[in-house]
């Protein structure tokens, strides 16, 4: 499919805390950056999607608080709609708006300041108030239950997961936007502070502040712009059961479904052979092999082995998270759109020091939302 393209993009550096800017100021920065990247002006945008979460922002209808900054009030006000979920879901919604025929262009903006609220309390708020939340469980405790189940089912070890952190924090050394970049040793990861067994400090992504923006355009517009368009060739979003106990946490059928649909749309038969680069949502180290397997790149339980063998390394046959991934910067909601931006930059050849060797003609970006990856969005980008 070559109906809708990414024609402009921008992201902030991801940092532990940005006291110098509020949400709107972050959004204004990436709005200007994405428009400049596209060679468009605010008046050229006829549709806006804002992505945010009320609990993180500490106010209701948080999406509406960035209207002034993203330009949706320009010229008496343009169409604006909102998504509470990952930035990739905003991309999907924006693309659907263009495919409806009513709009030629869409600006998708997303922001999150993880530093300003209490991450544990906020993520506990996603659970039901009768059976789960009274236990005090939150995102990391739930993720730990998933990590243990995945290890037990496929005979994986904590060392297997440690190699993900080593790879991605190492990749982040090339990415000036990353928050945590380091040359880690296996011993350092294994000796890091226990958080929720089997997860240790270096298995976790950081708390981050940041924002990102993408300009989408219909092919009629995209083909007239100076910049090489990055086509959204396939996209799908699927979700599964909410109660943790309803799921086999070692499996992610929603991701399998979303990947199948996105591959079908993009005409992909053999993802490992056809896709050149992957940016996926590794909020915790174990998630990278788990999602990688469900994306159909290798059999179940074999993802960790491929990482150890270097198949997904920066200079491997299929680089996964050459940006450093979410383990190196995790502005919640923003992180999925950041995966899209990183993949699109690689296709354009604009990834700077983190540009992988060899042509990137087809790339996959992935976003999640909800406990233990309850919902997934898979995006296939191409030349």
């Amino acid at each position: 499919m070559t109906d809708v393209a990414i024609v402009g993009m921008a992201q902030t550096p991801y940092r532990r805390r940005r006291d110098d800017a509020n949400f709107a100021e972050l959004i204004y920065g990436v709005t200007c950056g994405a428009l400049e990247d596209a060679g468009l002006e605010i008046g050229d945008i006829d549709n806006f999607i804002t992505v945010s979460n009320d609990f993180w922002d500490g106010r209701t209808i948080s999406s509406m608080a960035v209207q002034d900054a993203c330009g949706s009030s320009f010229d008496g006000g343009r169409n604006v709609s909102t998504v509470e979920g990952d930035g990739t879901f905003g991309l999907l919604y924006g693309m659907m708006r263009i495919l409806s025929g009513a709009y030629q262009t869409t600006l998708v903006v997303v922001h999150c300041k993880g530093s300003e609220g209490n991450m544990r309390l906020i993520t506990s708020g996603m659970f039901d108030y009768i059976y789960t939340r009274p236990l005090g469980i939150e995102a990391t405790g739930a993720a730990a239950l998933q990590a243990r189940r995945y290890m037990d089912k496929y005979q994986l070890t904590e060392e297997d997961f440690a190699h993900v952190s080593i790879k991605n924090r190492g990749n982040a050394l090339r990415n000036p936007n990353a928050q945590l970049a380091a040359t880690l040793s296996l011993d350092q990861v294994m000796a890091s502070k226990p958080v929720a067994s089997p997860l240790k400090l270096h298995d976790l992504s950081p708390i981050s502040d940041g924002a990102a923006a993408v300009v989408l355009a219909h092919r009629n517009v995209a083909n007239k712009l100076g910049r090489k368009p990055v086509w959204v060739k396939g996209i799908a979003h699927c979700s599964e059961a909410h109660f943790l106990g309803d799921r086999d946490l070692a499996e992610a059928p929603a991701l399998r479904d979303a990947a199948f649909r996105a591959y079908q749309m993009a005409g992909i038969d053999d993802p490992f052979a056809e896709i050149d680069l992957v940016e996926l949502y590794d909020a915790y180290s174990y998630m990278e092999p788990l999602w990688f397997e469900e994306l159909g790149f290798c059999p179940k339980g074999k993802g960790a082995e491929l990482i150890r063998l270097g198949a997904t390394a920066f200079d491997g046959p299929l680089p996964v998270n050459p940006s450093g991934g979410v383990l190196s910067a995790h502005a919640v909601l923003v992180a999925g759109l950041a995966r899209v931006i990183e993949a699109a930059l690689q296709i354009r050849g604009d990834a700077g020091e983190r540009q992988v060797e060899g042509p990137v003609e087809l790339a996959l970006a992935h976003g999640i939302n909800g406990p233990c990856g309850q919902s997934h969005c898979v995006v296939i980008l191409g030349e």
């Binding site: 236990l135 405790g141 730990a144 929720a196 943790l244 106990g245």
Partner: protein, 158 residues
């Protein structure tokens, strides 16, 4: 605008938002049975025969309300667990370390997330048999925490 602030003002706030959530017909039955009899009930879908706990008014798979109550034994198998070591006093029910697990009660098709107790973390194994320990009747108040925790079957491992 080019002038940057001489200092960054940080505005402290706190949202306190009381709610009175209706547990609903299905969970009200579950919670009153837990409170009054220390019994755990699931719902069985008449179409697919799957037994769900927590119970649902409708089967989430078949989306039919043709479901029946099934009493479940208060014992089952540990599917996964984690020992919580981080501290967050605003959220946590007790001082860490403490243990969460997902337990599939015998006969149920889904697992119940809850605490594990009376067990050394090193003795925990996926697949081990566990049983529920309830609060004393006079202390039970119709909350999921009327079930205190699951412990190794046959009594304390300590």
């Amino acid at each position: 605008m080019s002038r940057s602030a001489e200092e960054n003002i940080i505005y402290e706030g706190r949202i306190r938002m009381p709610y009175t959530w209706a547990a609903g017909e299905t969970s009200s039955y579950f919670l009153t049975q837990l409170r009054d009899h220390a019994r755990l009930w699931g719902t069985r879908c008449s179409a697919c025969q799957m037994i769900f706990i927590p119970p649902r008014k409708n089967c989430p798979r078949c989306v039919t309300a043709d479901t029946n109550w099934v009493e479940l034994p208060s014992r089952g198998v540990l599917q996964t667990y984690t020992v919580i070591n981080f501290s967050e006093p605003l959220l946590q029910p007790s001082e860490p370390p403490y243990i969460y697990g997902i337990v599939k009660l015998d006969g149920a098709d889904t697992g119940l997330t809850h605490f594990l107790g009376e067990v050394e973390p090193e003795k925990l194994r996926t697949g081990m048999r566990v049983e529920a320990v309830f609060k004393k009747k006079e202390e039970r108040c119709g909350r999921i925490t009327d079930l205190l925790y699951f412990r190794p079957e046959g009594g304390s491992g300590l």
